[in-house]
Subunit: 427 residues, 2 copies
Amino acid sequence: MMNPPRSISLSTYRATHTLKRSVMRDLLALVARPNVLNFAGGLPADENLPRVELQECLDAVLTRDGARALQYGAAHMPLKELIAQHMHTRGVECTADDIFITNGNQQGLELCARLFLDGGENVAVEEFTFTGILQAIQGHGAQPSAISVDLEDGMDVDELADWVAAERVATEPGSVATRSRLIITIPDFHNPLGVSMSAKKREQLAEFAARFEIPVIEDSPYSPLRFCGDTIPAVKAYDTNDAVIYLGSFSKMISPALRLGWLVAPRELIPRFTVLRESLDLESSQLIQRTVAEFLARGYLEPHLEQLNAANFARRDLMLHALERELSGIAQWTIPDGGLFIWLTLPEGTDTEKLLHDALSQNVAFVPGFAFAADGRSGRNSMRLNFSNAPREKISDGIARLAQVIQETANLRESTRIETLDSRGFA
Amino acid sequence: MMNPPRSISLSTYRATHTLKRSVMRDLLALVARPNVLNFAGGLPADENLPRVELQECLDAVLTRDGARALQYGAAHMPLKELIAQHMHTRGVECTADDIFITNGNQQGLELCARLFLDGGENVAVEEFTFTGILQAIQGHGAQPSAISVDLEDGMDVDELADWVAAERVATEPGSVATRSRLIITIPDFHNPLGVSMSAKKREQLAEFAARFEIPVIEDSPYSPLRFCGDTIPAVKAYDTNDAVIYLGSFSKMISPALRLGWLVAPRELIPRFTVLRESLDLESSQLIQRTVAEFLARGYLEPHLEQLNAANFARRDLMLHALERELSGIAQWTIPDGGLFIWLTLPEGTDTEKLLHDALSQNVAFVPGFAFAADGRSGRNSMRLNFSNAPREKISDGIARLAQVIQETANLRESTRIETLDSRGFA
């Protein structure tokens, strides 16, 4: 399942976190140059997008539904029913009435942040996490609290328990405060870490959330992207007390340009999401909702996912083999069973932000680890590598060029240090 | 241009405003019954949606652009260029760099509210206004201040000047506070009032906003829907000092299911909108952006608008003739030169919320005026009538049924009053 280190670090943290994604946007602008081999993104490969099937579905929907596909309208009930069926494959008992349609997981995060955060709260997240989660938290005046992650089986649930206990004492001595706390986790093929939370930890988390009445947001855009290993039920599957809100998305499993996702929530919260959503952007497109329903109803999803996951699996292996060949003994990395990302850790003292500039000069790109740090500063010696997007035939060479830059940087630092010693007269 | 009354009322107001739209949603659920003649919505008629053209454009884009139309991506530059050209027809000098793509005007309002409001501010709006404007303001802890509207030429700019003066004294004696104030106006074919702001007032408003450094949000989803009268430049066309942000939308001019709009803002604000947007829902669909660009590039918009506006014009006239026939001397109404709405005012004491229940029993629907009241309580004797959506052949009969309900209610009140007098022994 993994390559060491097992646990990245332990730090429960409160800090105002600057909007990292804008830094990343500037970096990623460089990545967009056509000759750059992009290990930085979180995209499927172009050839793995189901263009022909979507074209068929769009055409069929417009021909059959006509104006109904082009007007305003309530959330499309057949789509919600099909999503409920999909959730059953994740072990979640739910019906269409428990589902709220979103414009993708980021909107789900924003809606949950609006619902649960008033400002000043601490929100437990994995110590490295999706930047959009950090933005949603900070956009509502709350702070992320970094919970350690075991790279074999996910978030440290014991540490999470300690965090909740500490928060209880800190916020309201002698009584239980529940509204001011929230947990946001990415249990499946974690972004950026690639790790999945074990079934045992999911069960513990759900039990724990119910007992302490802490809402858990389960951000799960990658769960359909498993290419090996055993299926693990959603955290929501273990939720017997309406403590978990599940966020799903069609962006990674069909196409990002659909801008369509959903959330599964306690039924009484659905009308509240409806009102919050109206103020944000009213509703999701009837055309897109009906097109995705058509795609699912025609049975296009399963063969598409088989093809997509096989392609991702092959790319992951190409990248792992190249890493083994080039960086064995120098770096450590995770071995994901699905999703899009590998997390690579270099020796302490390496600065992957600086390394990115050197790598870009060699036309290879990745995302420096600090961009995902809940504490805003960890992960300077780490990077996220995406294996799903780069052309198969270029992955091995790309990792070789990246390894070369890593080794040159290490050598340079070595010689710089010696020079510095010389100039000080110590050698 | 109009039918009296000229000025609805004068009230500069601060009130926490309950989320009216949820009340309206419950009412409008009744409206959705198939046999109800719907004067309540804000939709184009089904037959006036350019289904065939959109189907062509979607297909062409997917065939030509393939995966690029299905991936993540930056805002589509050709679309922004075509929007800039459209803005030139509104008298606005701008380029693609001044334009930010949104998921429709509601998202534009939300983004502006996020950018300008911290909580506690007063925001000047027309005394009756789009409920989504009130939600955006209140969603960020600010309050609407109702500015009177002259039903001939729009918002009372002198009253607005007084409001700003009063706000200045109230908030920061002896100095100018600019960030805590904001004006949001719908100058073209106002929702719900149907009135358009005169060119003279637009010029005054822009001059005034620049002088006092007050941002003006010009919410203009209806401006392409003019079917008679002379074109009036946008408020933004008179803006020489980057004080005005213009919000436009493809929802009313092409299709609501595109969920696509834009804003024109001072160029230095565009990166801030980009960051704010990322946290809300990341970006707009590449597929939809490219499809709309194709629609515009093929020259489909102009003939479509000609057909749409001619259809709306005919429906407006059908409604006006029926109102004249049925309610002359009883009600007063506006006569819009475009857009979707007529504002109808009944004698003081009439309650249009109660009236709606009676009207629904006669299978006719409208929106009670109070739903749009910035003060949360005015407009109980008013209603908004939509003329664009109902079938042509049913408009006259629908207004006749509505008039009957109005007259019965009036008679009932009359007899109730007499009965009450009787029982008290005064007659």
